[in-house]
């Protein structure tokens, strides 16, 4: 596999791990923003190749993990209505709401379907004119454009039985929120490569300069991640604070302008609750009023569902990088993938799930 195998080459990995060790003179704490990076680090054991004084903390970049419980409850409320086909990305199904999850609801007869692309939901709407098709649009700037395209096409095709429950989130505001927090420990970021493939990285220069925090836009393979860490440490050691682009084979400064324009047409920027992290200003995307006719929250009148987050789950601290999953007393005791207290334990990109799956029997 081109563009994968060369980034997993054991010799190259060893070379970069050694290069990191060679330039590191003091302890540094670096956060990988994206859950895909977290899984790659834990799955390949990359943290174990680093000098002991490099601390990797796991960030909030897992769309499933940060979707607030209110939106899971809204999804459940819509999915159990008669005549609804509720469509979702696969890994949202196991995320617990206040009472239930979508997988349980499906077992009780609700028509809940796993789809891979939001455009499949449009086809379902055309094929089932007597049903109401609802798509659960979650995710960062990575998934937002395809969901935007779905709603844009729904309007073009004048579909009257297609709706979206939109809970998109944006990366730059949450990075700023983390850096603003008084208990922040993060000194450098591995920026989320896929998000930047859409958005570019022009938004990040201001963050890097204002907070004196280097950011390396980083890919997801072992060599990518080690190169990103190297770039961050190189800057930290030299006391420079800029945005480096490790993921040049995918990411450009301006990103995918067509996708950005589509997003601007369909969405507006709003404040958004994050699971375990509270309200973050300008951190969400919602459907613009022009698309009210396709807005599931309005059509199914679920906007008022606002439950409290479960108290025992410390995913907020995990998503902020303040604790690691194994430091949570609920981890692998009352909280397991079969009985999760929070989404970080169920999502395929969740930090708790990564530790449960790959590290449960080991010391850390």
């Amino acid at each position: 596999m081109k563009f994968v195998n060369e980034y997993r080459d054991p010799e190259t990995v060893k070379k970069w791990a050694q290069a990191i060790a060679d330039i590191t003179t003091q302890p540094w704490t670096i956060m990988e923003v994206c859950g895909g990076q977290t899984h790659s680090i834990i799955k390949h054991g990359l943290d174990q190749l680093l000098p002991e004084n490099i601390n990797l903390v796991h960030g909030p970049g897992c769309p499933v993990c940060v979707t607030p419980i209110a939106y899971i409850d809204k999804a459940l409320a819509i999915a159990q209505q008669d005549n609804v086909i509720f469509c979702s990305f696969g890994d949202m199904l196991r995320v617990p709401g206040s009472q239930d999850d979508l997988l349980s609801l499906k077992s009780q007869g609700a028509d809940i379907r796993i789809i891979y692309s939001p455009l499949e939901a449009l086809n379902l709407a055309e094929d089932n004119p007597s049903k109401q098709i609802v798509f659960f649009a979650v995710g960062f700037e990575t998934t937002a454009p395809t969901c935007a395209l779905a709603i844009y096409q729904a309007k073009q095709r004048a579909l009257t039985n297609f709706y979206m429950l939109v809970c998109h989130v944006r990366v730059p505001p949450v990075m700023q929120a983390l850096l603003d927090a008084p208990d922040n420990t993060v000194q450098g970021f591995l920026g989320a490569g896929h998000v930047c493939s859409i958005m570019g990285y022009h938004e990040y220069h201001a963050i890097s300069e204002q907070y004196k925090t280097p950011i390396a836009i980083t890919g997801f393979e072992p060599v990518d991640i080690l190169q990103g860490i190297y770039q961050c440490i190189q800057q930290l050691e030299a006391e420079t604070y800029r945005v480096d682009n490790q993921f040049k084979r995918v990411v450009t400064e301006q990103g995918n302008v067509t996708a950005q324009q589509l997003m601007q047409q369909v969405y507006i920027i709003v404040d958004r609750q994050w699971r375990g992290m509270g309200n973050i200003v300008d951190s969400g995307l919602a459907l613009s009023p022009e698309y009210d006719a396709w807005n599931a929250e309005k059509y199914f009148s679920v906007a008022d569902i606002q439950p409290d987050e479960p108290k025992a789950c410390r995913s907020g601290e995990i998503l902020k990088g303040l604790i690691k999953p194994v430091q949570c007393p609920e981890f692998n005791t009352t909280c397991t993938p079969e009985h999760p207290l929070g989404a970080t334990m169920v999502s395929s990109e969740g930090a708790c799930a990564a530790y449960y799956r790959y590290r449960r029997y080991q010391n850390d």
């Binding site: 596999m1 994968v4 997993r8 054991p10 990995v13 060893k14 895909g36 834990i42 799955k43 390949h44 054991g45 990359l46 174990q48 190749l49 769309p63 499933v64 990305f89 696969g90 890994d91 949202m92 199904l93 196991r94 997988l103 349980s104 499906k106 077992s107 009780q108 379907r113 796993i114 789809i115 891979y116 692309s117 499949e120 979650v138 995710g139 960062f140 990575t142 998934t143 896929h194 072992p222 194994v326 430091q327 981890f331 692998n332 005791t333 397991t336 993938p337 079969e338 009985h339 395929s348 990109e349 449960y356 799956r357 790959y358 590290r359 449960r360 029997y361 080991q362 010391n363 850390d364």
Partner: protein, 348 residues
């Protein structure tokens, strides 16, 4: 350094059956251990082997059953009929038995085309004939339209053990070697790609095949087989975890030794799947002592279904909890654990 301690198994969380209870992962194990086993409670069932081995008169008879509900009914590399015969033949072969007779129970949905039924039964017969077994009894039921996906098939099979060696998890010993006959992950992906909504073009074919002939070659050569297990639901990882747990050993497999086709690996990258957890239907693990490895590999590689046979790992030592680890390409060892249920495609 925080020590992570293992705890008692979590109680069944779900009050109703969810799809993950059939996914070959932790929830399925819980269902079997907490609901099925305590009720049927008997020592033969408790062995958890692919076939029950029954001492009848002076013979050892292997007996097994399996139901087939695959959707779609026809997929690249096979169909539900071929699968229903191969699956049961393989379950018999995994206990070291020579398959003799099969049954066939059909649950047909009102409206199902006789033409398709004929095609599937012909496929069953062709597969059975090639293996030298007959389908000797069966049953037919019809359910209302919408109650089944066209048809479901149950097959049961009996076979006879001609070997005296006990082939099961309890025979696994430290320093044994783990071999597999074929590359991983093709069946699960081939079927998934044919389902609605997956608009990927690919050449991936199911590995659906009857491996009883290959197993027979190994038995005839007097290979000291300690254990055999087909890598069906839950794939290689789930199967070896179950074996390691039953045998109370620590097994380690090496990533670089696992045969995985490039097409399978690429699709797994796109969907966020781990090929180690994807179902196979013509792939099995063979556990033998070190001094039998070369001969076993030679026999396997001489058979059409064993061209890619490879040594993939070892049984390291006894371990009360049972454990499977994977040595990554960077020389780091990590735990492979049962998934809750089936893998779900990721968001991004």
């Amino acid at each position: 350094m925080t020590e992570i301690k293992l705890n008692c198994p979590v109680p069944l969380h779900y009050e109703r059956i969810v799809m993950a209870h059939g996914g070959g992962g932790r929830l399925m194990q819980q269902l079997l251990d907490d609901v099925v086993q305590p009720i049927f409670n008997n020592p033969i069932l408790a062995q958890k082997n692919d076939s029950a081995v029954l001492p009848i008169n002076s013979a050892n008879i292997a007996f097994t059953t399996d139901s087939y509900v695959v959707k779609p009914l026809f997929f690249p590399g096979g169909d539900i009929g071929k699968l229903a015969v191969c699956g049961t033949l393989n379950d018999l072969a995994m206990s070291g038995a020579k398959p003799l007779y099969l049954t066939c129970s059909l649950i047909l949905e009102e409206g199902f085309a006789i033409k398709d039924l004929r095609r599937l039964l012909t496929s069953m017969q062709a597969t059975a004939s090639a293996a030298g077994v007959s389908i000797v009894t069966g049953d037919t039921k019809v359910v209302e339209h919408g109650k089944a996906d066209g048809l479901y098939i149950n097959t049961a099979g009996v076979g006879i053990l001609e070997t005296k060696q006990a082939i099961n998890a309890q025979a696994i010993r430290p320093d044994d070697v783990i071999l597999i006959n074929s590359d991983l992950g093709r069946h699960g992906l081939a079927v998934m790609l044919e389902r609605d909504g997956f608009d990927f073009k690919s050449n991936i074919q199911s590995d659906c095949a009857d491996v009883s002939g290959l197993v027979n070659d190994l038995l005839q050569a007097n290979i000291a087989i300690h254990c055999l297990r087909d890598l069906t639901r839950g794939g290689l990882a789930s199967t070896l975890i179950e074996l390691a747990t039953s045998a109370q050993v620590h097994m380690e497999i090496a990533h670089i030794d696992l045969p995985i086709h490039d097409d399978v690996q690429s699709l797994c990258e796109i969907l966020g799947f781990d090929p180690l957890y994807i179902a196979n239907e013509g792939c099995f693990a063979l556990i033998v002592p070190e001094d039998n490895v070369e001969q076993a590999l030679q026999i396997m590689r001489n058979h059409p279904l064993g061209k890619q046979a490879n040594r993939i790992g070892t049984v390291k030592q006894t371990a009360e909890q049972g454990m499977l680890t994977l040595k990554t390409e960077f020389g780091i060892s990590r735990v492979l654990d049962l998934l809750s249920g089936e893998q779900l495609p990721r968001i991004c």
